[in-house]
């Protein structure tokens, strides 16, 4: 498979003749359609100003050129989440010439809700009636022609998973793009509402700023719904027009309130649904010869979501995910490490100047190596997550774990990122992307580094092996547990003080089980993994070079000795760690190095004590007491995420402030906890 990722979507350079947006509900097969249309020529970026992924590509079918833009999967054009705002703004922007609306045939009634909203807004729409095979298996029959006639727009039957109907879809899109203006579409909202809409529509027609891109009637409907975005638009108008619009809208709403009370919003939504119900009469028929026969999904779910089996199965799936990632990923990572070590040795042999050789071998090759070591586990993990998502299991995982996560004030979907954190914090932070609510997402990102990742284990193993020989397992376990407890407390505090009132309702579709396609899973994996490589890679690389420079400067010092910049900084910082029980320049340097990746702490200690891995135990047992060793391990657990995680946080939050906060709070928390352990232990006479 050839996957071409260009650096940045640059539209201006080569304007495509037409622009096609792909919209639809989550789980409607939207991504498969997008992948089919664009092949693997996709560009992944972000929508301006938000952390919603934007994907676009070029149409690969036929000779016609078209730009295809993938919109986030949404249920309506409301404004609850960033996803929905992005989609709505784009549809209303008038930029897309045609919108492909992917409709799940097996779930047509709810899927058409979005369709009616887009039609009202005035989009030029072609429906891809997808997964018709699945609908047929559920004994749902759809008269495609009648549907197209009643909606007045083209409807193309497709089975995206099997590439069926793609050619016809492209033809319909190209034909539709030639037509100038979409036919006006209207839903009848009942006499009372209609008469108010008429008044508002007339008024809106006199305001060219509002009708440039939108149907006047759509604006009128949104005035009744009192939508924020429209409000902002009106606020920006000149005084007189603004007053007139606001007055008229207020009057209309008040008159309707007399009749509908607080249920005006519901009346509009219910009218849309009853419009859909009427529309589908005679179009959709369900042959129910075998009455109430359970679907395949329902049969499977009786086991998978079973009261007693649900949680064990969930844990088993998660365990399997970890095992696969780390048993398959670790040897690959080792191979990459070995390769770079060999490459370093080979290059070093060819360079006579020791400084140059060190710069190239330790900094450049070492830097690239430490980025690439992350590739196998991260790509594997994302591959498995994609497969679980596409099969429909992830929605069930959220369903199963939601009750537990509610205790933390979080959403069921937060569980997966946190669990992944035990493997590596980097994909954990990235997996938080599946959370719609900003507060939930930020909380999850901020607490994920408290999950003790695999890289911290070597540090524990070293110290526990020296000081807690009798209770090794217990000592290590206590550190993992400490991380979890801290995460729970931190989640509570963040939700309470930083993200108040941002709790998202848990109203999620549980899609039917589906066989994931390898192509979609691989594209997903590549999309996420390559984003990590691009953004995090540069930061990790820069950090490795920086640390190399600090260990070798000023020129001529012994690598990472007390005379190097690193050693000087260590000596300078040591007093800070004095009250924690490890106020040595060696410990301070190890912690600084540990920022690169926590397992480096072990290697650094070996270097700074001038001992091999064997002599290290002796050096450490004379430098630490059991109490200060535990305090040190607590510090390693909590203090600042590693640079790769910091890079991921920076990328995912798109905010320097939150990144700084993530580093700052964990540094303070780590220091305070280690202090408590050491001083508390001394008071108890353990020192």
């Amino acid at each position: 498979m050839s996957i071409v990722l260009e650096k940045r979507p640059e539209r201006e350079k080569r304007p495509a003749p037409i622009t096609v947006a792909v919209a639809g509900n989550p789980n409607s097969g939207k991504t498969s359609i997008f992948n089919n249309l664009t092949g693997s020529h996709q560009q992944v970026g972000n929508w301006p100003g938000v952390t919603v992924t934007k994907k676009e590509g070029q149409l690969v079918m036929g000779s016609t050129k078209a730009r295809i833009v993938d919109l986030p999967g949404i249920y309506s054009l409301g404004a609850y989440s960033e996803d929905e705002m992005v989609a709505r703004d784009y549809i209303l922007s008038g930029e897309p010439d045609v919108i492909i609306d992917v409709v799940d045939a097996g779930n047509i009634e709810r899927n058409l809700y979005l369709t009616t909203q887009m039609l009202e807004a005035g989009g030029n729409i072609v429906i891809a009636l997808n997964m018709l095979d699945e609908a047929r298996r559920q004994n749902i029959h759809i008269d495609v022609r009648a549907l197209a006639d009643r909606l007045g727009i083209p409807v193309v039957p497709t089975v995206a998973r099997l590439q069926q109907g793609m050619k016809e879809l492209v033809e319909a899109v190209l034909e539709d793009a030639g037509q100038s203006k979409p036919k006006p579409f209207r839903i009848y909202y009942g006499e009372l509402i209609e008469s108010e809409l008429e008044i508002l529509e007339e008024l809106v027609k006199t305001v060219p700023e509002l009708t440039a891109r939108l149907h006047p009637r759509y604006v009128a409907v949104k005035l009744l719904e009192d939508e924020d975005w429209l409000h902002k638009k009106i606020e920006a108008l000149n005084g007189d027009t603004r007053e007139r619009l606001m007055m008229a809208a207020g009057d209309s709403i008040n008159r309707l309130r007399k009749h509908y009370g607080e249920d005006l919003d519901s009346a509009l939504i219910e009218q849309r649904y009853s419009f859909i119900a009427d529309l589908l009469k005679g179009v959709v028929t369900r042959s129910e010869d075998k009455k109430e026969k359970d679907t395949f999904t329902e049969v499977v779910d009786r086991v998978v979501l079973n009261r007693y089996l649900g949680i064990p199965i969930f844990l088993l799936v998660m365990f399997g995910m970890f095992q696969t990632t780390f048993t398959l990923g670790a040897p690959l990572s080792d191979m990459i490490e070995t390769f770079f070590a060999w490459l370093g040795g080979w290059v070093a042999g060819g360079i006579s100047s020791p400084l140059m050789s060190s710069l190239i071998v330790d900094a450049v090759i070492g830097g690239v190596g430490s980025v690439l070591v992350f590739v196998p586990p991260i790509f594997l993990l994302f591959l498995i997550i994609s497969i679980l998502e596409d099969s429909g299991y992830m929605a069930r995982a959220a369903y199963i774990m939601d009750r537990f996560m509610q205790n933390l004030g979080l959403h069921g979907r937060s569980f997966i990122p946190l669990l992944i954190g035990f493997g590596c914090n980097v994909p954990a932070v990235m997996a938080a992307r599946s959370l719609e609510n900003k507060g939930d997402r930020l909380t999850t990102i901020l607490i994920a580094p408290l999950m003790s990742c695999a890289a911290r284990l070597p540090v524990y193993v070293l110290f526990v092996g020296i000081f807690f020989t009798a209770y090794q397992g217990l000592a290590v376990f206590s550190l993992y547990l400490l991380g979890i407890v801290l995460a729970i407390i931190a989640a509570h505090l963040f939700k309470k003080f930083l993200f108040r009132g941002e709790e998202a309702p848990f109203i999620l579709e549980i899609p039917p089980y589906r066989i994931p396609t390898l192509k979609t899973a691989l594209l997903h994996m590549w999309e996420r993994g390559s984003q990590f490589l691009k953004k995090a890679g540069t930061i990790i690389f820069a950090a490795v070079v920086l640390v190399w420079a600090m260990s070798n400067l000023p020129w001529g010092v012994e690598y990472a000795s007390q005379e190097s910049l690193m050693g000087m900084m260590g000596s300078w910082l040591a007093p800070v760690f004095e009250p924690l029980g490890f106020g040595t320049w060696q410990a301070a340097s190890a912690l600084i190095f540990g920022l690169l990746a926590k397992e480096i702490v072990v290697g650094t200690l070996a270097v700074v004590y001038g001992a091999g891995e064997v002599g290290l135990a002796a050096a450490i047992s004379s430098a630490y007491t059991p109490l200060s060793a535990f305090s040190f391990m607590v510090m390693v657990l909590v203090y600042s995420p590693c640079v790769a995680t910091i890079a991921a946080i920076r990328r995912e939050t798109d905010s320097r402030g939150w990144t700084a906060f993530a580093i700052g709070y964990s540094l303070v928390l780590g220091w305070v906890l280690a202090l408590t352990v050491y001083q508390g232990g001394k008071l108890l006479g353990l020192g």
Partner: protein, 212 residues
């Protein structure tokens, strides 16, 4: 109803219902402020309601309505709404006066007169939800047993959560079936418009249904 509640007790119940629809937690102070009554007497009155099993309240903690208390409060509010509607829409009484009078009348009007009034309103005044008795046979979606089918009658919420619930297809008149409960008891799995929707009991409790 074992014993008839005194008018002032009814006011307390109604106030708690009002406050609990907007605030997360209803406290004695909030109730006292709303009714313009001292905290001490509010405390005493709440004690009375606790004894009757209408509300639960621990020292300094929030006041919450029990199932019985909620249904009683909804009945009282319903009477209030019907009377107010009658005064404003039919008799053209000034809304402010209507509000006050409805407050006084609601405590004394008999069930029989009320029932007659409702049918009168249904016949002569065009109205929707207001003319239905929400508390009579309606259950919360969150209280249904697995396997139960029901028709949605009302969404008792407002703002974006209500909109979200409706947009996902849980509109009035739709048939739903509870298909399962998550292993830890929450959320629930509901079949609506031919697809499976999971929602927390907290959200499901906002959906009033009638079992079929």
């Amino acid at each position: 109803m074992p014993k008839k509640l005194s008018p002032s007790m009814q006011d307390y119940l109604e106030t708690i219902l009002d406050l609990s629809s907007t605030d997360d937690e209803v406290r004695i102070t909030d109730i006292a402020n709303r009714l313009n009554i001292s905290k001490a007497s509010t405390n005493q009155a709440i004690g009375g309601l606790v004894k009757r099993g209408m509300v639960t309240h621990r020292h300094y903690g929030p006041v919450t309505l029990t199932e019985m208390g909620r249904s009683e409060a909804e009945k009282i509010r319903y009477r209030h709404d019907v009377l107010k509607k009658l005064l404003i829409d039919v008799m053209k009484v000034d809304p402010e006066v209507a509000e006050q009078d409805a407050c006084l009348m609601e405590h004394t009007i008999s069930q029989e007169t009320l029932t007659k009034l409702v049918s009168f309103m249904e016949t002569y005044v065009v109205g929707r939800e207001e003319t239905e008795m929400p508390e009579k046979t309606y259950t919360r979606l969150s209280d249904l047993m697995v396997g139960t089918k029901a028709i949605i009658k009302k969404i008792v919420s407002s703002g974006s959560i209500k909109k979200r619930i409706l947009e996902m297809g849980l509109t009035v008149g739709t048939t739903v079936e509870v298909k399962g409960v998550a292993p830890m008891g929450d959320p629930i799995d509901v079949l609506v418009k031919g697809y499976h929707l999971s929602l927390r009991k907290k959200e499901a409790s906002l959906v009033l249904v009638e079992v079929v």
